[in-house]
């Protein structure tokens, strides 16, 4: 039923049969670590990018306003970078002295630059205080409360309606999973961070419409709150029942990297995940920086190698969390500037929905990125690019060109015309970005030796 839909052209593409730009469009993936020599270089480069992306923003204002906005924008960028440099060398006094002006020039209810600066300023303030207190030892917090989870969920719903990122990740990975499960009848999906499980009804739908019916469909949902997992399970059950799918949900309150992976206990590990030996396993992971999902990156990689699932689908933010603080900061500033541009495009500065998304999601991520140790808040070695890492440890890429790509370009052509978003297919990966910056990469992996 998918193949019969007519493909629509996304606004900026050339007309190939899949309507997806090929990789010669040269999309900036922001993966290279840029050595930070001089903040003036950074500012010039940065502001050039921002100018290019914001060509429309000041179109209607007269020239004097544009010039003024540009110069205060430059000043703001300069101050942010200076402040980050001070934090990087632990000159907290000086960093702290720059914050009042940064705060004064920024606002969560202003232009894209003013808004992104507001959250980076907040994050830097928090960072300075925690650096001063010297207490960035990692520690555990029991759970996000139900109320907190609810707020994130609500914000994600708004995020889903004002940007195509969530739908992009759902559509592309579900399509890839569907294809991998073509000849399979007993299926087990492991969702490393299931939250509300919003992805799965879409997959249920296409699986249920298959001529070859499923004998069993089980999902292990991993999360931090038992009550939230239960609620998700109930919802998924309802949906599966309405489609007559033989469905079972296994909630797992933990982090995937903390599951014991002593290789002699491999069967025990399978039991913990609830996997039966006859099942075809698919692992799925949608990345974010709202909280730590894996516990231990190292262990997670190890587990995936042992598990050898038929398919691993990963949606990653094009943002690396390794490296020095300053690198992390500059990359993140670049990244979120584009994201704030995207959600602010054509929307008035007082828009409450956009504010909610920026504050509950982006602001929280920014705070985690700028914090000591980055989003995981630990000093542990982090995997920078999961796609590449999987490629290193015995997996090979499964191309998403073809149907997943079609789904994605269809999405972009659909409702509210997602103008400004760009879709690129590169070596079988699909990248969704804003203007010329890639923000999210979807990839799929299968084990090299399929014994």
């Amino acid at each position: 039923m998918l193949q019969s839909l007519h493909l629509q052209h996304p606004p900026i593409s050339s007309t190939t049969s899949s309507s997806v730009k090929d990789s010669t469009m040269n999309m900036n993936t922001n993966t290279s670590k840029r050595p930070i020599h001089d903040s003036t270089d950074e500012i010039t480069e940065f502001s050039g990018e921002i100018k290019r992306r914001n060509i429309n923003e000041h179109e209607h204002e007269d020239n004097s306003l544009t010039v003024e906005a540009e110069s205060s924008g430059l000043r703001l960028l300069g101050l942010l970078l200076q402040c980050a440099e001070c934090v990087a060398v632990e000159n907290l006094n000086r960093a702290n002295s720059l914050l009042p002006e940064i705060s004064e020039l920024s606002s969560p209810f202003g232009s894209s630059l003013e808004r992104v600066a507001a959250y980076f300023a907040e994050a830097l303030q928090a960072r300075i205080i925690s650096s001063y207190l010297g207490t960035y030892s990692p520690l555990s917090i029991k759970t996000l409360t139900l109320a907190q989870n609810q707020r994130i969920h609500n914000a994600l719903q708004s995020y889903n309606s004002i940007t195509p990122f969530i739908k992009f990740s759902h559509f592309t990975s579900n399509q890839a999973i569907f294809q991998a499960l073509e000849h399979e009848e007993t299926v087990h999906i492991i969702d490393l961070d299931i939250m509300q499980g919003l992805q799965w009804p879409g997959l249920f739908h296409i699986l249920a419409s298959r001529p070859r019916k499923l004998k069993s469909l089980r999902i292990t949902g991993i999360g931090s709150s038992h009550s939230l997992l239960e609620a998700t399970g109930v919802r998924l059950h309802e949906f599966a029942n309405s489609l007559n799918l033989p469905f079972e949900f296994i909630p797992l309150e933990c982090k995937i990297g903390n599951i014991s992976s002593d290789s002699t206990d491999f069967t025990e590990f399978l039991t913990q995940l609830g996997i039966r030996s006859d099942e075809t396993v698919v692992v799925h992971w949608l990345h974010h920086c709202l909280y730590d999902v894996t516990g231990s990156d190292y262990n997670t990689v190890r587990l995936l190698r042992l598990l050898k699932p038929k398919l691993i689908t990963v949606i990653e933010q094009d943002l690396s969390h390794g490296g020095s603080f300053l690198n992390r900061f500059v990359e993140a500033l670049h990244y979120y500037s584009a994201l704030f541009d995207a959600v602010g495009d054509g929307v008035e500065p007082e828009n409450v929905e956009r504010f909610t998304v920026e504050r509950q999601l982006f602001g929280a991520e920014i705070k985690n990125i700028v914090a000591v140790g980055g989003p995981k808040r630990t000093g542990e070695v982090k995997v920078e690019k999961w796609g590449m890492e999987l490629g290193r440890v015995g997996f090979r890429a499964v191309s998403l060109a073809g149907n997943p790509a079609s789904q994605a370009s269809l999405l972009l052509g659909m409702f509210p015309p997602w103008k400004g978003y760009t879709l690129v297919e590169e070596s079988g990966r699909l990248k969704l970005g804003w203007k010329d910056l890639s923000l999210v990469t979807a990839s799929a992996w299968e084990p090299l030796d399929l014994d």
Binding site: F109, Q148, R359
Partner: protein, 441 residues
């Protein structure tokens, strides 16, 4: 157990063994970071604990943590200070709900206090605000605030009413306006003068600007006021005096342009609190020496003065007052209002000034900000003046004004002086917030 309690308990052990870092006066991190005592590094990440829909779980967590931190600072319990600063740092946000905002702004002050960097911090806040404010933005801010809340218009209406009544029958009027309201009080008074049944009197308006920031933007006001007066057909003279580079009480009659035959009114809106505590008596004496027909005083109802040598007491009162103010702001403005944000940032300057700056250190920049309550001002003013009750007409005007705003506003009855009238008190959710009074020699 609330999630905040649980966070507190889970992090207690980290701070338990810390030595004092507060003895350092420079901001610099520990050279030896505390060891992680957990074998498995497990991470904690920022997530938004408050957010408007926070249930009874997290109610009023900010004031509890803030007060505890203030107390720890006064006991010099360094382990606890660090722990609470850390908690507040994790949970606060300047863009969140009231608890998160209060936590954020008061955390700044506590941090300054603990690192003894209050004076430096305040100077920097003032200079930044000074640079970025301009006439248009300041005026827009005041007008927007007046549109959504009677916080400032209450005092204007009450004072104008009292002044007009005191000036009844007079022809040569001179108002000495010591305030930072950017003259938003005067258009209605000018209108009233223009529509007086007898001959229109002449009005001389001498504005003494005390706040550092208002100075830089007052020049534009002169033209506007003159134009408006012309429109109203009121003979008008306007003078602007910079009142902050010398002590206010040192101003002379000549400088204030006081002349024979004038009926004088002294209008003092939120100005007395900006005067250094020791100088307040002298300022009132100055007013008396001008022999005014009427003196109108409007001040916000809080006491940061009698507790100024007791950090915890002062902190408690600050917290009480600013909690009310922030809640009022949140209910009066839209959720994405830049004006509300600017008013909140203004509060942060006041909070840092009152709680962390050493008064004795003779801070030239900025203002004192030590508020006193109505009954305290009464004690001072009684030495030279006697209270004039507001007439029924004025009270009616004020009540009519309050009806134009959202519910929650009322006139409170001042219970401290049960026999005497002691001015009018604006209340928000039954809490007294702004006090207005009128005095004659």
């Amino acid at each position: 157990m609330t999630s905040v309690d649980s966070l507190y308990n889970n992090t207690l052990f980290i701070f338990f063994t810390q030595k004092s870092s507060m003895e350092r006066t420079h901001l610099s991190p520990y050279t030896n970071h505390p060891q992680t005592t957990t074998k498995q590094p497990i991470s904690h990440t920022y997530s938004d604990p408050g957010g408007g829909e926070a249930g009874p779980d997290n109610d009023k967590w900010a004031s509890k943590l803030l007060l505890e931190c203030a107390q720890s600072i006064s006991y010099k319990d360094y382990g606890k200070i660090n722990h609470l600063l850390w908690m507040l740092n994790e949970l606060s946000s300047p863009y969140g709900d009231c608890d998160q905002k209060l936590a954020y702004y008061f955390l700044q002050a506590l941090f300054c206090k603990a690192t003894e960097s209050g004076n430096r911090c305040y100077k920097s806040l003032i200079s930044v605000a000074d640079k970025s404010h301009c006439f248009d933005s300041a005026r827009k801010l005041i007008l927007k605030f007046q549109e959504v809340s009677p916080w400032t218009t209450f005092g204007h209406v009450a004072s104008n009413g009292a002044i007009l009544e005191a000036f009844d029958g007079e022809n040569k009027l001179h108002i000495i306006d010591i305030s930072n309201t950017l003259c938003t009080q005067w258009p209605t008074l000018l209108e009233a003068l223009a529509t007086r049944s007898d001959d229109t009197p002449s009005l001389k308006l001498t504005v003494v600007v005390t706040s550092t920031m208002a100075r830089s933007i007052m020049k534009e006001i002169t033209q506007r006021m003159e134009k408006f007066a012309r429109l109203m057909g009121v003979p008008f003279e306007f003078n602007l005096i910079n009142g902050s580079n010398k002590r206010l009480w040192q101003l002379t009659k000549e400088e204030l342009n006081v002349q024979e035959g004038e009926a004088i009114a002294v209008n003092c809106i939120g100005a007395l609190r900006r005067v250094e505590v020791e100088d307040r008596g002298d300022v009132i004496r100055l007013f008396s020496s001008l022999n005014p027909r009427i003196v109108t005083v409007v001040e916000e109802e809080a006491d940061f003065t009698s507790s100024r040598f007791d950090f915890v007491k002062c902190f408690e009162e600050c917290l009480r007052y600013y909690t009310l103010y922030f809640e009022m702001l949140e209910e009066s403005f839209t959720p994405t209002s830049n004006e509300r944000l600017m008013l909140e940032r203004e509060c942060s300057r006041g909070i840092v000034r009152v709680l962390t700056c050493d008064d004795e250190q003779n801070i030239d920049s900025g203002d004192c900000e030590r508020r006193e309550k109505g009954n305290q001002w009464c004690e001072r003013l009684k030495e030279h003046f006697s209270l004039v009750g507001f007439s029924d007409d004025v009270v009616d005007d004020v009540k009519a004004l309050l009806k134009r705003y959202r519910t929650g506003w009322s006139l409170a009855h001042d219970r401290t002086n049960s026999n005497e009238d002691s001015g009018m008190m604006l209340a928000w959710k039954d809490e007294p917030v702004v006090w207005a009074s009128a005095w004659k020699p």
